[in-house]
Symmetry: C2
């Protein structure tokens, strides 16, 4: 395993060189369609080209990392499902029966399921990518969910996975998550990073009722209070309020950005990981595609506050990478448009009068 | 060629039997995900099942018919592109270089390019499906664009194509259009059917400037006035203000609905064809998927007025079936979710507490 140091990875991330923008735009405008008429597809192609630094982009191999972890705060009853569901769903994914398996197959993406911190040994489990830092986080309502050292290990594992993907010829990454109760730490992270009261953004997760949401808000407020002194820097905040899968996603994004591998961020949980990455180095922004607007209540407010317009809005709130998978197919469509369409000249089509 | 009569086709369309709804919903709820957490994907799967009458749906073979036609009203300068572009783009499509070719390939749909009324003999043109009614419509600003007999022929051609697709084992149809100036007749149809002033919905089409839009509004107002007496019934309105490709799309939808073949409607132009079909028999509604919100100015107002929430909103305004192609892939994804996901029982996953 290569030794990496998080601070040097973070420092190595650069915003894309935009000098090729005019050349890419000229090519898009020469294709046999009115200029700009493919709307966001053209924007996606442009972003992919700039992020990868290619005026002749290649997008074939796609991979989704679904990061799994458990949360001590699940003990406070913040989820509609029991904690045992995390390892059960990991096994379901390894068996090919989860939603993300179906959607990854549909869009032609490879799926890698990563144990970042599931509270189960997951014995057997062929195909599992084992990067377990610990068996679940501590209860953030009582103190830090993770030590800074453990959070750093989780981030670095994500960085390594992104870089391995790059070495293995992957052209587009997707993030996903599995972790019972993980809308709670994600909401806490949004609250802390964006200074939004938890009551404004806490939602139903997998299916809480109104009382459940009130309890969840109270638990998050408690966690923010219990960890106040840790919330002064991005990494300390992630360690105190995050989770191993969220830190893994943060690392995946940092690692991808550091090697110019574009990464498609899934929904609510993955956005929390992305926000942590952006707090560490905002230059990662242009390497990220935000796939979809989640139906989880706070996502719209959060994306607006970040100035992000997601690609899809399909009322999904499942996680796993399901939104990322669908968006990856649209990004691939945009690159194919860029690469495969005829130009006005080559097709002998008259231009605008 | 089978003889069909439009009125009997229209009469044969039935709203789907919804008795299977509870069984389909039960299956969706048994899949390993929180209930409803796949949002619109679940809604799309439900609609596909109900439209086809299957609790075990099959969606493999997909076909897009791109209907092409020319418009007499193009003489009034309502488009940013010259009329010659219609046959040029038909040839570009037959050569595989248009946006719809790329997107159809990307989603695994067959593309059939249909000459419904291009003002060009299109000699040679291998692969072209020839259903030309006439070489372009008359100028609707001066009188009816088509005779009722010609419009009926165009609709019937569309009906036959949909039924042929059904016989050939197609599971999902898509509509598309190519026709320089055709946002003008489409806008006129929306004005007439929905009683909206043209100035409220007329847009840039392929790229008019503000003066161009004002001229377009004036031409549409002129057409509405010139054809006032024809606008009393759905077919008369379509003939007076429509086009051969729009009538073909209308027929495609009616034919599909009559044999329970779901059809994905593209953007602005195809919505005009769909609206004509719905005016002839509103029971066709449940067989239609509206693919995307076009960037053409009036589309949002029109869809809202019709109570339709499209699947995608990607600021596209190209037509050809490009929005339909992308949405077809999402519908296929939804059916695969329905067919391929594990259930809580089969995967041994605990249910909600």
């Amino acid at each position: 395993m290569t030794t990496i140091r998080l601070d040097s990875v973070v420092k190595s991330i650069r915003a894309p060189d935009t000098r090729a923008r005019a050349e890419i735009q000229r090519h898009l405008d020469n294709l046999t369609k009115p200029q700009g008429s493919l709307g966001r597809l053209e924007e996606l192609a442009m972003r992919f080209c700039l992020a990868t630094g290619a005026v002749k982009p290649v997008l074939k191999k796609k991979r989704i990392y679904c990061m799994a972890g458990d949360h001590g705060v699940a003990d406070d009853g913040v989820s509609a499902y029991p904690k045992a569901v995390t390892p059960q769903m990991v096994r379901n994914m390894l068996g090919g029966g989860a939603a993300i398996n179906v959607l990854a197959r549909h869009v032609g993406a490879e799926l890698v399921v990563v144990d970042m911190g599931v509270d189960d040994p997951l014995r057997g489990a062929p195909g599992l990518c084992r990067r377990k830092v610990r068996r679940g986080t501590a209860n953030m309502a009582l103190g830090p969910a993770m030590s800074v050292a453990d959070a750093t290990r989780a981030i670095e594992a994500g960085v390594r996975l992104a870089r391995a993907a790059k070495r293995q010829g992957v052209h587009l990454l997707g993030s996903g998550d599995m972790g019972i109760a993980n809308t709670t730490p994600s909401t806490a992270l949004f609250s802390a990073y964006l200074n939004i009261p938890p009551a404004d953004i806490a939602g139903r997760g997998t299916g809480l009722n109104d009382q459940g949401i009130r309890d969840k808000v109270r638990v998050i407020e408690q966690a923010l209070a219990a960890n106040r002194r840790a919330l002064t820097d991005p990494l300390g905040t992630l360690a105190a309020l995050g989770g191993f899968e969220i830190a893994g996603i943060c690392g995946l994004i940092l690692g991808a950005a550091s090697v110019r591998l574009p990464v498609v961020v899934d929904g609510f949980i993955s956005t929390a990981g992305a926000l942590a990455a952006l707090r560490l180095n905002k230059a990662a922004r242009e390497h990220i595609f935000f796939s979809h607007l989640s139906d989880e209540r706070g996502h719209e407010v959060i994306l607006k506050k970040l100035g992000i317009r997601p690609i899809l809005a399909l009322n999904m709130r499942l996680g796993e990478g399901t939104g990322a998978a669908l968006a990856m197919s649209l990004i691939e469509a945009s690159v194919r448009i860029y690469n495969e369409m005829a130009t006005f000249h080559s097709a002998g089509v008259s231009e605008k009068s």
